[in-house]
């Protein structure tokens, strides 16, 4: 635990200096080395450990399972199916949003989606589904079907200062091409496995990042107005992108450039 935190601190100093200037270029040999080191010694593991403490103290897996209405032993497979329709929510929600519900259910102060506690607890909770295959069911019910359709709309909507959509850079016909030397990832490919590898430690940001937060970073970079975490459109986008990776094994926390 201690060695991990020292390593994280050292790394972030090194990263801040070295990476910012190079962010738009693809990885140099030094970056590749750093990336490999991060994979061996992922600083996000600390967030998982802290998330476990927070989650166990405030909720616990037993109470969480009860709140969402599944058996505790079925939690890993259940968690691998998010975003999903949750009866107690009466809508399609993300894992983080169910933590908000569980906190209220346990009479705890409800953390904001943007908060560090939420980041840690979500990363921990998702890690319970490690080795499970993402099993989102976008045809499970009317609500999921609607969210899938909305997610595709949001993904394909050209907007913002440059008139780009997510699809401008992530459509099947251009993935693998380069944007300023940076290869465009296929969000559904098993090497990227976007849904199964987030939350992840982002090397260029030196912090653990949730999938929806990663969407916001692309919006920022491409001059699309940032839509807020938890909004219907953001959850829908997560449904749409998660479905692209359906079947890939979950390996959380990931490490990303």
């Amino acid at each position: 635990m201690r060695t991990l935190s020292i390593c994280a601190a050292l790394l972030s100093v090194a990263l801040c200096g070295a990476l910012n200037a190079e962010e738009k270029l693809s990885m140099s040999d030094a970056d590749k080395k750093m990336y490999a080191e991060l994979v061996d010694n992922n600083p996000a593991e600390m967030d998982v450990a802290e998330g476990e403490q927070l989650f166990s103290a405030a909720i616990g897996t037993e109470a969480y399972a009860k709140m969402v209405g599944v058996k505790e032993k079925d939690l890993p497979a259940y968690i691998a199916g998010f975003p999903r329709y949750v009866e107690a929510a009466k809508r399609v929600v993300t894992l983080s949003q169910t933590i908000q519900m569980a906190m209220a259910d346990r009479s705890q102060a409800v953390p904001k989606l943007e908060s560090k506690e939420m980041l840690k607890m979500t990363t921990y909770l998702k890690s319970l589904a490690n080795e499970q295959k993402t099993n989102i069911d976008v045809k499970a019910n009317k609500a999921m079907k609607e969210m899938m359709a909305l997610g595709q709309d949001v993904f394909e909507q050209r907007r913002g200062g440059r008139g780009l959509s997510c699809n401008s850079c992530h459509s099947a016909d251009i993935v693998g091409q380069r944007l300023r030397m940076q290869p465009l990832p296929d969000l559904g490919a098993s090497v990227t496995a976007a849904a199964g590898t987030w939350p992840a430690y982002r090397m260029t940001k030196s912090e653990t990042t949730l999938l929806d937060k990663r969407f916001q970073q692309c919006m920022d970079n491409a001059l699309l107005a940032k839509i807020p975490l938890g909004s219907k459109e953001m959850v829908a986008l997560e449904v749409y992108i998660t479905n692209k990776t359906k079947g890939n094994a979950i390996q959380v926390p990931g490490v990303k450039r």
Partner: protein, 173 residues
């Protein structure tokens, strides 16, 4: 004290209350405001494409840079880095997708624009009107284009589109 109050509430917490605590802000207004106007066909202004070195220099600068904050070299005459409202000026960042003479760290989402005059203009497959329209609004010629829109959304003004077109069709060393 606080805990006790919260515990008191707990006994009354039902499904409806759980729905209430889910953070779910409205994004539709943001998306509506951010929407892109539909594709527009333009008439190239008189004297748009020129061999004026100042215009070509501006076009080159817009082509190779992302925005005023990230760009180290001073802006050529007639271009600013910071807008009157204090925000940084956004440039074209065309090099993110296109190679061209002298490009550093270019991308390949769009076609290579090197030697454009000889390959595309002199051969007659392209003309100034096409280049102007492509930069202003690429959707007219190609509705599923992955290219950025530059004039219809006000990212650039007419003159800046002309500067870019002048740069692309100029003969480079």
């Amino acid at each position: 004290m606080r805990k006790m109050i919260l515990l008191g509430i707990a006994t009354f917490l039902g499904a409806a209350d759980l729905q209430q605590v889910i953070e779910s802000p409205d994004a539709s207004a943001i998306l509506k405001k951010d929407a892109l106007p539909s594709a527009k066909t333009y008439v190239m202004p008189q004297g748009c494409i020129s061999d004026d070195p100042a215009a070509i220099a501006r076009g080159q600068y817009i082509f190779h840079n992302l925005n005023g904050k990230e760009t180290k070299e001073p802006a050529p005459e007639g271009l600013v880095k910071i807008l009157p409202d204090g925000k940084e000026k956004q440039y074209g960042n065309c090099v993110a997708c296109h190679n061209i003479e002298g490009a550093k760290g270019y991308g390949n989402i769009g076609p290579d624009l090197s030697n454009y005059k000889a390959l595309y203009m002199d051969s007659g497959v392209r003309n100034g009107t096409f280049v102007y329209q492509k930069i202003a609004d690429p959707r007219v010629d190609n509705p599923t284009s992955h290219m950025t829109v530059n004039l219809t959304n006000g990212l650039m003004n007419e003159r800046e589109v002309c500067d870019l077109a002048s740069y692309i069709v100029s003969v480079k060393k």
